[in-house]
């Protein structure tokens, strides 16, 4: 049987094109704000006066949002991912020697390669090398407390440091931060920009920390807690914790990958 396909196009219409499910393949998935902390979280008192109260304007992404800064090896120095050595003056810093490693992925489980990861932390006594930190615990003359690295082609990163100590802060009279390391991530577009904190498995302060509990979703909190990765420890040298980080996914993964390095 000869089936005649009907053609609804009129003279002068554009030629037929194949159906493509996404016209803006570079755009990121909508952020799921239900598992991020809300701006206004009164258990964290400083957020009260620093939280926008009007609705955010939902912006369909343009080039301004899907692009972002690109970093390379020229931006960082060889000791930047070694906090044991990058500020050592008279010897190594005091504290438990640890490696932190992990993979930066997007929500589609794709590695995020060659992206800048920055980290900062208190020293082993819970004191930051910062002119605004007045906690009575001592500064360590051999510890700066910051570093950075680029993920490799598979999204992996690692750095060496000492385990940070917990410290008191002014929220309630007796508030203490669990041991944590701050992380800053870029991804490949400015809409993926993220700052978060990594906590350590087994720390009893996690469950009573107001900043941790600005996050309304228990599973999302658990994903910030790095397990001990004994298989990756260096015998007689360093323990290792594993912290994987997930950035927003991109629609391009629905079909063809059109952006190099995306």
């Amino acid at each position: 049987m000869n089936i005649q396909r009907q053609d609804f196009r009129r003279e002068g219409d554009a030629p037929a094109e194949p159906f493509i499910p996404a016209r803006n393949p570079l755009e990121f998935f909508q952020r799921d704000r239900d598992m991020h902390p809300p701006a206004y979280a009164p258990i964290y008192k400083t957020s009260v006066n620093r939280s926008p109260r009007k609705a955010l304007l939902s912006l369909e992404q343009s080039l301004s949002e899907v692009t972002g800064p690109v970093f390379g090896h020229n931006d960082i120095g060889i000791l930047d991912n070694d906090l044991i050595k990058n500020y050592a003056k008279t010897g190594d810093p005091i504290g438990e020697r640890i490696i932190v490693h992990g993979q930066v992925l997007d929500e589609c489980r794709r590695p995020v390669p060659h992206t800048l990861v920055e980290f900062w932390q208190a020293n082993a006594a819970g004191r930051y090398r910062h002119k605004k930190d007045t906690y009575l615990a001592p500064i360590d003359p051999n510890f700066g407390g910051c570093g950075r690295t680029l993920t490799d082609e598979n999204g992996y990163y690692f750095f060496r440091t000492v385990k940070p100590g917990p410290y008191p802060w002014r929220n309630y009279v007796n508030s203490w931060r669990p041991a944590h390391i701050h992380f800053s991530l870029f991804g490949s577009g400015f809409a993926q920009r993220l700052i978060t904190q990594m906590y350590f498995e087994g720390d009893p302060l996690i469950k009573i920390c107001p900043i941790v509990h600005t996050i309304p979703d228990e599973e999302a909190i658990n994903r910030l807690v790095a397990p001990l990765d004994i298989n990756a420890a260096v015998p007689h040298d360093c323990l290792t914790y594993r912290f994987d980080i997930v950035l927003r996914g991109r629609r391009s993964t629905l079909f063809e990958n059109r952006l190099e390095g995306n």
Binding site: H36, P37, S47, K54, I76, G144, G145, I221
Partner: protein
Amino acid sequence: MTQALGYLKETASQTAGPYVHIGLIPHMAGFDIFQNNFGNVLVGAQTKGEHIVIEGRVLDGTGTPVRDALLEIWQANAAGRYNHPADRQNKPLDDGFRGWGRTGAEFDTGLYRFETVKPGKVPGRDGRMMAPHINFWVVARGINIGLSTRMYFADEAEANTADPILNAIEQEVRRGTLVAQRSSRGGKTVYTFDIVLQGDNETVFFDI
């Protein structure tokens, strides 16, 4: 039961905290550690375009300057092209102009400052041109998830009137919160852009 979609969930945001300067701008925290610091000067003498200074303050809900804020900007070059592989417009890149900068508010005054060039126009989603703008991202102690906004230029009134993002702000009275005023000081063009976190004049922030 259904099949599992298998997506991962984005890692939750946490505040950058009071000591964000240590990690991201250690020279402002009071010590020297990296060979190369990221800073607030995006341009060199050879960078093409109109050289400008942007300065302002981040203000909390009581009108008090947020003196520990950290700000980043991301922008196109003077020709209107982003230095990123996804921008495939047929416009020139400017060697050495990354288009990104970072700074902290001054601890005593709360003032921040960038030195850059005025960006050209970039097309929006539907191909219509957006008015020249600079993308801002603000974090600080007490900010639980980074705040995204844009700065537009007061002397681009015609382009601003046609800009699809400014027009998407329903309350016309709020559009001005994204427009920086131009002035001249010591031979330099200065745009003043205050960011108000909360209150009657709250800056328009985006969910991007």
